[in-house]
Symmetry: C2
Subunit: 125 residues, 2 copies
Amino acid sequence: MVSFSGLQFHDRAPVYQQIAEYLKRQILLGTVQDGDPMPSRRELAAQTGINPNTAQKAYRLMTEEGYIYTDGNNGSVVRLTPELRAAIDEELTRGLVERFVEEAKQNQLSYKRVIALVSELWGDE
Amino acid sequence: MVSFSGLQFHDRAPVYQQIAEYLKRQILLGTVQDGDPMPSRRELAAQTGINPNTAQKAYRLMTEEGYIYTDGNNGSVVRLTPELRAAIDEELTRGLVERFVEEAKQNQLSYKRVIALVSELWGDE
DNA sequence: GCGTGTGTATTACGGGTATAATACAGTCAA
DNA sequence: TTGACTGTATTATACCCGTAATACACACGC
């Protein structure tokens, strides 16, 4: 059963999008695999403290994007193909860095300074 | 006269916030300096194709943040102190990188991979 | 059968954002 | 003085987001 107990919301994106993104992260981490059952709408809502309607909206989004499917009354299940996994990696990894680089350039930051700041702010490693 | 003709809006933030951020970028670039006159609300609205009320909202935000002040009926003027400039740099530079690093860590990206991706996607330089 | 849980749908409300249409008072040049 | 511009304010509408309260049909175990 896919768990959303570790999900912490922020206010920079709609809640239902954050839920979908959380699932994608779990997929990339290998925590969630093809065929894994999703909690019910009401259970997810209870886990995360949101409204069941918002949970339903998240499931609709994930269904539209192809990451889950719903079998009648038996709940929803994760669907994962190599293509979907590649799409997630593209969005969460390259897409993240692409948006950052674009914004950094828009702010006229130099490559050198960006690298220095990333190194400084990364902390350990 | 401060110009907003180069401003291109996106939909990830309210328009009035994007206007304020654009001014801050111009300040960091040195294009805008202390005492520079701002266009009128209606002129900014015409320049950028937005509603004068939204422009007014942006001016109110910039006034509250201290980057402009309004002299009665004579229009608004940019105010720039070393403290304000430092605050802008903190927000637009360090803040940007901080949010990126946080999100990258949340997605379990390694420091090494992030640096590699930034280098790859940066292009020239 | 009955209760519980399931997915799904509808309606309503509040808040934030943006637009739209005005309105008013002040300034200033013609 | 008149007209055009200025900043400022108000009201209305519309959309998205999230919550809230229901409602319905279906499936399953007791």
